[in-house]
Structure formats: C-alpha cells, structure tokens
Symmetry: C2
Subunit: 452 residues, 2 copies
Amino acid sequence: MKYPNVKGTRDFAPDILAKRKYILNIIESVFKKYGFLALETPALEQLDTLTGKYGDEGDKLLFKVLNSGDFASKVDDNIWSSKQSENIAKFISEKGLRYDLTVPLARFVATNRNDITFPFKRYQMQPVWRADRPQRGRYREFWQCDADILGSNTLINEAEILTIAVEIFKKLNIPIQISLNNRKILEAIAEKLGISEKFNLFTVLIDKLDKINFVDLSKDFENIGLSKDKIAELSKILSTQYFNKESINIILESLNNNANAQKGCDELLEILSFISLIEKFDANIKIDLSLARGLDYYTGCIIEIKCSTAKMGSIAGGGRYDNLTGVFGLPGVSGIGISFGIDRIYDIMEEMQLFNDVKTTDTKIVLCQFDKKGQLYNFKIAAMLRENGISCEVYPDLKKINKQLEYAEKKGIEYVIISGEEEINSQILSVKNLKSRIQEKIDVKNIISYFK
Amino acid sequence: MKYPNVKGTRDFAPDILAKRKYILNIIESVFKKYGFLALETPALEQLDTLTGKYGDEGDKLLFKVLNSGDFASKVDDNIWSSKQSENIAKFISEKGLRYDLTVPLARFVATNRNDITFPFKRYQMQPVWRADRPQRGRYREFWQCDADILGSNTLINEAEILTIAVEIFKKLNIPIQISLNNRKILEAIAEKLGISEKFNLFTVLIDKLDKINFVDLSKDFENIGLSKDKIAELSKILSTQYFNKESINIILESLNNNANAQKGCDELLEILSFISLIEKFDANIKIDLSLARGLDYYTGCIIEIKCSTAKMGSIAGGGRYDNLTGVFGLPGVSGIGISFGIDRIYDIMEEMQLFNDVKTTDTKIVLCQFDKKGQLYNFKIAAMLRENGISCEVYPDLKKINKQLEYAEKKGIEYVIISGEEEINSQILSVKNLKSRIQEKIDVKNIISYFK
C-alpha cells in the first residue's frame, strides 16, 4: 500500500520546516523593517484572471480545477464529442491555482484601489503551483517571497529593493553577486539591430543565454530577423562586462547615444548614486547587458542576484514594471518588485552548512517518571514551567527511563528532569543535562530561575 | 471589467492579515511551548489519498484538479460519450486539494514511520479547501490550526490538549466553555438502545442536535431503528447536564454500569484528575453526553470548545482516535488531536474588540523631504536607522509635504522626520510625533537612542 506525494510536491518534516522558517522569518523581518505590509491572496483564482498573463507556455502550466457537480452536462454535445481537451477545459473548469504572486497582487490593487494608501508597499510569502516537469530544484508546488512597491516611479525604490536584498542575504550569510540592467537599454539594442518589433521574442532569447550559449542560439536569433553580422555585433555588446559608473559611457557610445539607451543609463547611474550613500553596502553590483528576465511586463531596471560561491541559478530577481495593473483596468501605476526563491536559498544554505544554529524544537526539558505518581507530579511541574514561559514536555507514557531519555536525545532536547519517589517527597528535582552529562539537584522553588 | 475573487475565498488585506497573524502567532507559540513540532504538507494530494476518508458528503466537497495535457484522449470513448461526470472525473483528475490536515498527517506518519520519533507531537497551520456552499462564517478556502499527539494512548495527552486550549484562549482573551464527552459512553448508549450497528449514523444525528432540535430530528432517529419510547429515553439521557465528578456516577447508573460506559467514565475521571492539579486552569468543563462530533474516526474522549459570551458554533474541537493511520497501512497508532478554527476566532475577537492593540504596520517613522537633496539625505538616515533595527520608510516621491504626512497618518505611523536645507546643514533632525503633535529637534548623533 503506497500513498506517495503528488509528483513535484513535498512534505516539510519538522527539521526541514524549521530551516525554511528560519529563512522566511529573516526575509519577513527585513521586509517589515522597510515598511512593507503583509498581503495574502487565495490559492484559487478565476481562470479569467490567470490566463493570458504568463504567455502561451505559462497558460499550459496552469493547474485547473474541475467544476463541482455535473460538469459534463454543461458542455454542448458537439463540443463534448470532439474530445478536444483544450477547448473542453474552458467549459468544465473555471478556477485555477495561483501561478505567481504578481498577478494576484495586480488584481488586488486594481480591485481595491480606493481603499489602498499609495505608494503601496506589500510583501507576500505564499506557495504557487505550476504543472512544470519536476527536476532538481524545480517543484510543482513552491514558495515565492515577493516585495513590491506600487504607485511610485522614483528610483529611490530601486535602490531600496537592492538594499533589502543585500540585508537579507547578509543576514542569511550568503555571499552574492548582483546583476543590473535596464529594459530601455535592451530596447536601444533592439532598435540598433532593427528588430524593435520583435522585442519580446528578443528578450526571451537573451534570457536563455544564461543556460544556452550564443552559437547554439544563433538559429533562433536568425529566426527573429538578425543577420550573421548583426548576431556577431550583438554578441560583442552583450559579452562585455561593465563594472562601474565609467563603463556606462562605453555602453552609451556603443549604442550611438540612442535616446532609450540614454534614459536607461541615466536610471542606472541614479540608482548607483543612491547605493553609494550606504556605507555598509556589502555586495558587488555589475551592469550586465545580457540580463533580460523573461517576463514581458518589465519596462525599466531589472535585477538578478546569484550566490557568488555556488553553482546555481538566480536566487532573487525583479524589476520595474509600468503597467502591471493595466490589464485589470487600472492603468498608469508604476511599480517595482523583487522575488526571493527560498527553495534555492535553502539548497545553498544546506550545502554551505549555514543551518547549524537552527533548532528543530524549542523544548528545553523532558520530564520523565517511573510511575503514575511521578507523572502526575511532573504534569504539575510542567504547568509551572510553562506558565513561566519555559518550553517543556512530560513524557506521556510509563515506559522505561532509558526509553524516555532516548526520546529527549532524539528530539535534540537538552535537559531532562527525572521524578521518582525521593524527588517528590523532598521537593528537590533531579535535573540532568544530556549534553554535558552533568546531573544536579535543584530545589523546586528555584527551578524557574535555574532555567531562565 | 470585473475580476472577482473565487466564490468563498478571500484576500487578506494588510489590516486583516495583521490580526490573523496575531491569532496564529499566539496559537503557534503555545503549541511550541508544549513541545509540538511544525509540519507542512502539500496543498495537492493524490485523490486516492483523499477519497473515502470524509464520508460520501466529504467526497463530493473535494476540489479536483484537471489532469494536464490532453486529458480527454485518455478516457475510453464509451465512458466519455456517457457524459457521466462522476465516473469521467476519475479518468481526467488524479489530484485534489487538501480537505483537512488530519488525513495528510496520517499519510505522512504512515509513510515516514521509520524516521519519526514517537510519540510524535506535531502542529500544522495551513489552508484547506472544500467545495461547500459559502455562507456567513463558512468559506471554501479556510485555515485549520491542528495539534496532534500520535503514538501514545495515556490520558495525560487529553489533559495536555485541554491545557493548551485553555492557555491559547486565555492569551486571546476569549472566555470559553469546554464540553467533554467520550465516544465509549455514546457506544454504551447505542448498546442500551439496541442500535450498535448503526453507531456512525447515530453519532452523525447526535452531532446535528446542536443546530436542529430533538423533535425535528425524531424522524431521522426513527429511520435508524429507534421507537418513540427509545427516542424519549435518549432525549432524557442527553439533555441532563453533568458538571462535576459526582455526576459521572449518575451517568453510569443510567447506563446500567455498561462496560463501555464504565471505561468512558473512568477516562473522563482520569482526565479531570490531571486537570485538577493545575492551579490556574481558567475554564469551565462540562460533561455533555450530546456531544458527538461528526467524524467517524474518533474512538475515545471528544472535546468541543465554544466562546461563552458569543453566539457562535465551536471554535475548537478534537478528540482521541485509535486507528487514524490504519487506512494508510500503519495500524495500532493511537492519537489525539485538537483543531482551532481561526476564522470564527477572528470574528469573535472583532466583535469583542480584542484587536485594539494589533498594529498593521511595524514602521515607526516616515522620512519626508522637500527636494531631491533631502531625499538622498533621508535615504542615508534611513539606512542608519534600519541598521539599528528601527523600522522606517523614506517617502519615495517628491510630493507636497502635506501629502507625505497624510501617507504616514493613513498608515498609522507615529513619527515623521522632515528633512530640509536647514536640517541637512545643521545635522539636527526635525522629528514630529503625529499623535501628540509635538515637534522636536534631535541631533543626528542622538537619533538612534531617541527612538530606542
């Protein structure tokens, strides 16, 4: 009899969950320190809300929920007998599972525009679902941790988002490399190459350069209208590494001072000037023109963060979008957001052994006993300890003392109190530290101060 | 253009979510203090895992997820053309949404039995989904907060579960009434009435007595084989209120000292003897023989908790089950659990105005400015404040000062710092408390200590 998990989903057992919560708590505490407010949206959304927002590929990855009741009776006989799944799905499924946290944010903001104080700084940390092929580091249910600022187009927001990322990774002890780019510079490159009309396809291809090299993608670049010469030119522009303010002039020159390029470079410079005010900004930033990020909605600065010591894709990313809520009837709200990938962060921290201080249990003491009388006594002592905020457990069964100590040790609990006839009569507790193996006799009157 | 939420689901805007988190944090902190470990399971489960566990009614309320890809092609033509939804669903849907947290717990424990340290004390706080008809206080997506102890049948666990509930509701400031019963006593009643074979139907009917009175249910009681006389007898047994240990003898007598009744009463007495050891046990417990709880899997003590000052159904409930994991191939693991209904708890606390101290934002200060120079200065001050753990925001846009103050006030933020030419040059910050309207000049060197 096997009851496996759904493919691509995971149980988080207590030891794993404790580490995940350690990451989530640090991210949340920093979000809050920067004034972001928590939002949660439902796992279920109308398919009308979700479809058409993530491209054709994304639409295919949506998990659709079957309508309740007699769903088939509501489908026209001709359509039904065609057995065309894609078409029939529209009639038998109205709801889907959340695919990301950005579209629900846009829906929420558009719907509640009159109640929201703008600029709206919200964070959201919830699971999302994608019917993708599971593989190492890719799940069908995974968590996103997003922070977004909507309703302000000033570049201080970009700087703040970067500062937040730096603080979070510093607290997690993960060394990072930040890559910055600006969609306007990519637009300028597309203009120069004469393929502005294919801009979205162009960015999707550039986004792939992370995993596939230029030579292997040249066929695809040709397909969107680039000659071999232009591909060589593109390769040269993208491959140059730019590390500082001065190099921005080089970018501008190579793009003939194109207006879009000028705007994009000015924005990068302004962001860097904000950052330079922070003394303890503990991260390298490089301008990387080959950074595109696959999502259509980005319009300005784009950000990608990798761990500088691990072979792993990006662990956080985001950017500026100028019209996220437009599709829900609220145009003209510029925003910027960042998303942290906690599954990858978890893997890196496990690899770097950064979870050594994370404890699975908060319990400090297991109270053990020889008999029923001892257990009743322990129940009373435990109530007193808990009333004083000390986390403890009474071993619930009357098993051999060794079995009880083994329980404490397996759970990683430091102390045991062993209550027998003598301890009860004398009101002197027998306390043992399982690590140091030191055993002490403590008057029950002093037990609270002993553990505090 | 309308993009409504899925019926029966809700967005939790920051002000609501802050209050929900306040409840969840209190519940979680108490769970941890009693030694429970956190577990999370996926939203998606195999339908094989879910179906047949919640009765026919429950099976109908499962949200089923449509298989990806060309689902129709995998259905036999004859079955497809029958258009029988219930039958076809089996072929086009393999996955469903979590219906509660108990079945996933049982699956997890059965699957991971070799890695788990028993007794396994776990808590789980996650949303569940039911395709029920939404109504006041009933949602299609709602949260459950469960704590369970598996692998120990000692009655100290029942006492601990009750103590946990009392501590949680005390911390939430909700006055409660606890009802206790034991399924074994209900079995004894069924034996006495000669309907042991209809025991599950019998408990389902008793469970309904909470909402429907005896007279209106008499037809249903007749249907499971009770004569009018026996219904009258049942009514008399159930309607008597039992408040203390002495009354347990009355129960026993009325059931002719039936063996099951004896066992159930002994268990109740032992639980009460544990509870009596706790000096500050701040709640009334009554023995209520009409308490049944609709779920089939309970076998021993059952618990229900209501707010004693609000007209509302139960806000927490649970009980002892002897074979939860058996259906997943692991028999003989006795357990006890309790579940807190945070949606109802929320409604009661809102009604009783118990959220007065809950703040939506952690931000202490909004830094305001007149111009770009002021904003750059504020960005630097904000970095210093945050480095010292003080939550603050720089107002990101260069709008009129009134607009900036309005933002702080709307978000309920207490202080503003207004940075102009003079403040920058003198390095003396202008700090205003928006509540008291007091404005002070604080040297930038002292600003950290001022706010700490």
